[in-house]
């Protein structure tokens, strides 16, 4: 057998021995380019101008900020991730600076006033906390306008232009109202936790997690219909379509495979055909159903503690897209909570060992390199070794003098294993 050169300095010096020269035409071109550059007028130092401009703008901004009359604080914005843009419309002394935009990074709460517009770019998140303690959690790409506040009446109205918000409103006394208005509908509450997502200009999705909300469709053609959305239910308010309330998708809590509990994942592989699904819903009484395509596989009543258990038995090896849904007493069905179940009893193909290439090796340590089924885990003499997503693995192993029995074992995600036994002899 042979060994590769390992002296890294010697390997680098192979580059020095390479005959690297620029093309003669390039030398001519470079000379001409330099001479041409000499003939050009010296460029104006752009960065000097940019710096001067920036300093001027900074000074103007400072003057504007100093001269800005303080407006009553209406809410605060806490940026949790990324940067938020707040467009503000506050009275200023100078007509040309009556509005502005400021970037609010992660940090201390930023005061907001009525009329402020908060925009969160992608991968940002933030919370608007109102004086009464109610909160609006804003996801990335969300835009809201703090439209109206009636502090004596304690009414808060927010206009949402895009994105997704989750409102957490404590129970409101007296005349207090909390309303989120979108182009398609309004969601009004007197104390609840709800989520609202603007799917399109004419489409609002709203889900109630606690309490109840009233969703009003802003559709004059239908006479502004409204509907109450109880806990665990959701609604798609679309202009031109009737309001239909349905249960929210259930939560799959965990799974059991022949008595072994496993975490719920979007893709699950196993070499066992029987599967039990444990889930939860807060939609109240009704049924939990298990479907594969249009085929109903199981249907069980939801327990009073809002939990359910569904059973599935794979008839043959293969992939099954399973849908778990909640059915209300009136037959309305929630959207699916889906996952892929792969029933697989076939072990990985034979492990292919690429290195070492002979059973006799020199040196105290040996590098073992090979490949197996993508996604498989590999153990060498019982020790797990790193495998990349393509199934390629590599590790270094210390050898004893003489013969070293080795056992390589590859197991796929379904738990099927293949073993490769061989002996390495240290010379």
């Amino acid at each position: 057998m042979t060994c590769e050169p390992t002296d890294i300095e010697e390997m680098l010096r192979t580059l020095a021995r390479e005959d690297v020269r620029p093309r003669p035409a390039f030398i001519v071109q470079l000379t001409e380019r330099l001479i041409a550059a000499m003939a050009e007028r010296p460029r104006l130092l752009g960065w000097h101008l940019a710096l001067a401009g920036a300093v001027t703008l900074l000074l103007l901004a400072v003057i504007g900020w100093v001269l800005t009359p303080r407006v009553p604080q209406w809410a605060t914005l806490i940026v949790e991730n990324g940067v938020a843009q707040v467009s503000w419309q506050r009275p200023l002394y100078f007509r040309w600076s009556r509005s502005g935009v400021t970037s609010v990074p992660v940090g201390p709460p930023f005061p907001l006033a009525q009329g402020d517009r908060v925009a969160l770019p992608e991968e940002s998140a933030g919370v608007v906390v109102f004086q009464d303690g109610s909160r609006l959690r804003l996801s990335g790409e969300t835009v809201i306008v703090l439209e109206e506040v009636d502090m004596p009446g304690l009414a808060i109205r927010v206009r949402a232009e895009a994105g997704e918000i989750t409102a957490d409103v404590p129970p409101l006394p007296g005349r207090l109202a909390f309303e989120v208005k979108t182009p398609a509908a309004t969601v009004g509450v007197r104390g609840t936790v709800f989520r609202a997502r603007i799917v399109a200009a004419d489409h609002l999705y709203s889900a109630t997690d606690e309490g109840a909300t009233r969703v009003t469709l802003l559709d004059p053609a239908q006479g502004y219909p409204s509907v109450e959305v109880p806990t665990g239910y959701e609604v798609d308010a679309v202009i031109g379509q009737p309001l239909k309330v349905r249960p929210q998708s259930p939560l799959v809590d965990h799974l059991a495979l022949n008595g072994t509990t496993v975490e719920a994942e979007s893709v699950l592989a196993s070499n066992r055909p029987a599967l039990t699904i444990f889930g939860k819903t807060n939609a109240g009484p009704g049924y939990a159903v298990l479907l594969s395509g249009d085929t109903l596989l199981d249907r069980v009543p939801i327990a009073p503690e809002e939990e359910f258990r569904l059973r599935f038995h794979a008839p043959a090896e293969g992939e099954y897209t399973l849908c778990i849904a909640v059915e209300a007493p009136d037959g309305t069905r929630s959207p699916c909570t889906s996952f892929l179940y792969r029933y697989d009893t076939t072990p990985p193909p034979v492990i292919r060992l690429l290195e070492p290439t002979a059973p006799e090796v020199c040196g105290e340590t040996v590098t073992l390199r090979g490949e197996t089924e993508p996604g498989a885990t590999v153990r060498l003499n019982g020790e797990p070794i790193p495998v990349d997503p393509t199934g390629a693995f590599a590790t270094r192993w210390t050898l004893q003098p003489g013969e070293n029995p080795m056992i390589l074992e590859a197991c796929d995600r379904a738990g099927n294993c293949t073993r490769l036994e061989f002996v390495l002899t240290r010379q």
Partner: protein, 214 residues
């Protein structure tokens, strides 16, 4: 006191010698009168000076750049040209504190760093099989690599290193530059350059071996 005295004397003279050798080294690293004259003429926009600069240093700078851009001729030529244009723009600022070669390499190193950073280029991901040729059942052993193949592997592995590691390795082992001069090119202390070289070699070795833990 008597025992301490010779040690103090020794330390004193050792310090004096180190100081003197440092001054001598710095003087030896200053630009020669010819180099200063060339840069003065370049600052005065003398076309002959431009031609002379290219004739004397283009090949050296090109080679330095070539090994750091994975041997891509187009990139090496672009960066060499950018280096010389930047040298022309800054010719009036050349004070002669370092050799002209050192000064040009420093500009080139900046250009190479900008090349990777501003264009958000990342070296290509190299799959495991690129490093280790697949060996079939009828191939009994892995032969020694040809020098050209070894060179290609080293060049590709260099691309996976951080730019300042790559610069350090090329300066030291390809350009055969002393550490003190490298420190001037890389704007770092000689100690820092030495530790960069050690880490760069470790990382290159790991890359050539294919995994981090080897």
């Amino acid at each position: 006191m008597i025992a301490v005295f010779p040690t103090r004397v020794f330390r004193f003279w050792r310090g004096i010698l180190a100081f003197a050798s440092d001054i001598l080294y710095r003087e030896s690293q200053r630009a020669t009168p010819a180099e200063q004259d060339l840069m003065r003429r370049l600052a005065q926009r003398d076309p002959d000076a431009a031609a002379e600069l290219v004739r004397q240093y283009a090949e050296m700078v090109y080679r330095f750049v070539y090994h750091q851009v994975g041997g891509i001729v187009e990139d090496a030529e672009d960066l060499t040209q950018e280096t010389f244009l930047a040298a022309l723009q800054s010719a009036h600022r050349f004070r002669g504190d370092s050799r002209l070669r050192t000064w040009l390499f420093r500009i080139a190193a900046h250009k190479i760093a900008d090349h990777w950073r501003s264009r958000r280029r990342r070296p290509p991901e190299l799959p495991l099989e690129d490093w280790h040729p697949t060996v079939g059942e009828d191939t009994p052993s892995l032969p020694f690599l040809e020098e050209t193949e070894l060179r290609d592997r080293v060049r590709a592995a260099l691309l996976t290193l951080p730019p300042h590691y790559r610069t350090a390795l090329v300066l030291r082992y390809v350009e055969d530059m002393p550490v003190a001069e490298m420190a001037r090119v890389m704007h770092r202390s000689p100690k820092s350059v030495e530790s960069i070289l050690i880490r760069a070699k470790q990382m290159l070795r790991q890359t050539l071996r294919g995994t981090d833990d080897l």
